[in-house]
Amino acid sequence: MDFSFPKEYQLFRRMVREFCESEVKPLAKVIDREHRVPHETIRKAAKLGLMGVPFPQKYGGMGGGEIGYCILMEELGRVCTSTTTVIGAHTGIGAMAIYLDGTEEQKQKYLVPLAQGTAIGAFGLTEAQAGSDAAAIKTTAVRDGNHYVLNGTKIFITNGDIADIITIMAVTDPSLGAYGGITAFIVETDTPGFSIGSLENKMGIRGSSTAECVLQDVRVPKENVLGQFGAGFLTFMKALDVGRASLGAGCLGGAEAALEASIQWARAREQFGVPIATKQAVHFMIADMAAEIEALRALVYRTAWLIDTGQPHILEASACKLFGSEVAHRCINRALQIHGALGYSRDYWIELGWRDQRITEIYEGTNEIQRIVIAANLFRPYGMRIPT
């Protein structure tokens, strides 16, 4: 067993960390306040191959696999969760769906610009009455000659308003339900009939736009059916599975930043004439943070390894998302406690980190859904099928 990172990943991490420290971290507060990640930052990331880390180089990607992608998410997670979300939704689910299920032509046409970062991607599943119950979507796609005509409204679409290419789930045969009745479509957002409704005013990750996408008689050529006709549910399940490992990596970064800030503050802050780092109450919080971070790191990178080596990973990926978001929650919460009033102040980033963290327990499948996925995988060998 060798737990060390191969050298290319060590160098990649160093490059990403320098990029994040110099180009992203100084902007984190502005990104939160102005509700957007600067286009320039995305452009710089794209120039380094960071918009297509997991994909093979023949599709314009970096060739870093899931391990490389998790390193990127971890490092971004240390400095800015909004940027993590923008790049994550673009890469981890938007482009990933095309990579996993696209035809060679679709990959050349759509994955290449997405991986190179000349186009931004998004993933359109959620609707007003279809959140965790993804099969309840109402958006329809009706065949009309060589096209499908899409109608419906997607909500909470990360990157919705900045995306050039969105993977949209639509009902193609209501009688067949989730398995057989839902199809994935690649939609170019400059297609007539596609428009952006309202933007969400969120508690955290405010730099990542969350848009309502309205499809009104959007005509999509039949070549843009992604994956098998009627198998859209499988397409998005696969993409989400992979995405979950990297979400855990983002949480890992956030938790690490919380720990490091706590250590530094505990050293600097004096009360009762001594640094609070001498207090056992602080030791316990910091030790718990460190232990959980170690566990999460092992989980995330083992899962990434499972994905890269083509092994089953659904349970582990869900565990990354579930455990990762909860570790991040506890760590940033402890960090806020250690920082006291400073942690509660909008002057410092802990408050921002705390607001940003909360979404990780909700998006891309709530933690409750993750628990169902994990349980379903555990009961399946005994012949029990739990619908997810």
């Binding site: 110099s22 502005v30 530094q264 050293r267 004096e270 410092y348």
Partner: protein
């Protein structure tokens, strides 16, 4: 640094073979002239050479190359040289590494100095390593201190490593001359004695066909440097409300400019409109770890200090001795920054 590497060298030190040192004596300074005067760095080198020469009982020779430099030779004697070899020619008006190396190497070959010192200036740093390579000898560059190992008549040069955090001492037992460049500002300028006697000798120039390959086109006072991300700035100068007004802040700006430093400030400086938001240092802004942080007119509570606690050296200028920043500063200057900064600029020659 791989320190074991030096350890091995230490163990394997060989005896000095007599042939190496045979016939080498006296101590040389390759003097420089700039704008018709002897710069302090050259005087420092002469002073240091004099001290060493007195210890081992040899003469101090100086070489002086340039155009119209002969009048300066007497000054070298006044500062401590016993003999000055002058190569004065219009062809030496501009520095040409190959030409200077040729002249000095020929002189060294002829007169065989035991040690050769040069100031670590733009010219010295360019010339000394090339000359050492030509003479097939060792060079201890950027020395902050020179001492002698009298048992072997060895010159020991101490130079900074790891950005000046550590000093390393080297010697060159197996080749002559023993060469060193002296970091300007680290050695005492001797007092001149205008009655000191010595010999000035003109050198006949024989360049043997060596020509320079440089064309010196124009001089510039400054160049524009690319912006350095704050996280990587080595020197950071910071302004606080104590600078009073825009005029006071302009002084801090000027100091940053002269030191090639990044300019930041406290939240107060931001509120005054002096600095942009991304230049606030402290918990409300950026965290930095420069080598040198100069806090001008800011009190520096824990929330500010948290952002700079990793700085290697903090200088605080504040009239209030009890301001929090003054307690954590390595150099606490009690005074009004609006008076101290102009004096600092002055001391920096600006």
């Amino acid at each position: 640094m791989d320190f074991s590497f030096f350890g091995e060298l230490l163990e394997e030190e060989r005896e000095i073979t007599p042939e190496v040192t045979e016939g080498y004596r006296n101590l040389w300074v390759a003097a420089e002239a700039a704008d018709g005067t002897l710069p302090p760095s050259t005087l420092e080198a002469i002073g240091q050479a004099r001290e060493i020469a007195n210890q081992i009982g040899v003469y101090v020779w100086a070489s002086l190359l340039g155009d119209g430099v002969e009048p300066l030779a007497q000054q070298l004697i006044a500062y401590g040289a016993d003999r000055v070899l002058v190569a004065d020619s219009p062809s030496l008006a501009e520095y040409q590494p190959e030409v200077y190396v040729k002249i000095l190497a020929d002189l060294v070959g002829q007169h065989r100095p035991e040690m050769l010192l040069m100031p670590a200036t733009s010219l010295g740093n360019d010339l000394a390593p090339r000359l050492a390579q030509r003479l097939n000898t060792g060079l201890i560059s950027h020395c902050l201190k020179l001492t002698l190992d009298m048992s072997e008549r060895l010159l020991l040069g101490t130079c900074p490593a790891l950005g000046g955090e550590v000093y390393h001492t080297f010697a060159c037992p197996q080749a002559r001359p023993q060469m060193a460049t002296l970091e300007p500002g680290y050695f005492r300028i001797p007092s001149a004695d205008p009655y000191r006697s010595g010999e000035v000798k003109r050198v006949d120039l024989d360049l043997g066909g060596v020509t320079g390959r440089l064309s010196w086109l124009e001089r510039e006072a400054s160049v524009e440097l690319p912006p350095v991300p704050l996280s990587r700035a080595k020197i950071v100068v910071s302004a606080g409300r104590g600078m009073g007004d825009a005029e006071g802040f302009a002084l801090v700006q000027r100091l940053a400019e002269v030191l090639g430093a990044a300019l930041v400030g406290s939240r107060g400086a931001f509120d005054e409109g002096w600095i942009p938001e991304d230049r606030i240092v402290g918990v409300g802004g950026q965290f930095i770890a420069p080598d040198l942080y100069i806090a001008c007119g800011l009190s520096g509570d824990i929330y500010h200090y948290f952002g700079v606690q990793s700085a290697r050296c903090i200088v605080a200028i504040n009239p209030d001795e009890n301001a929090p920043i003054m307690k954590v500063a390595h150099m606490a200057v009690v005074g009004d920054a609006r008076q101290v900064i102009p004096a600092m600029l002055n001391a920096l020659g600006r």
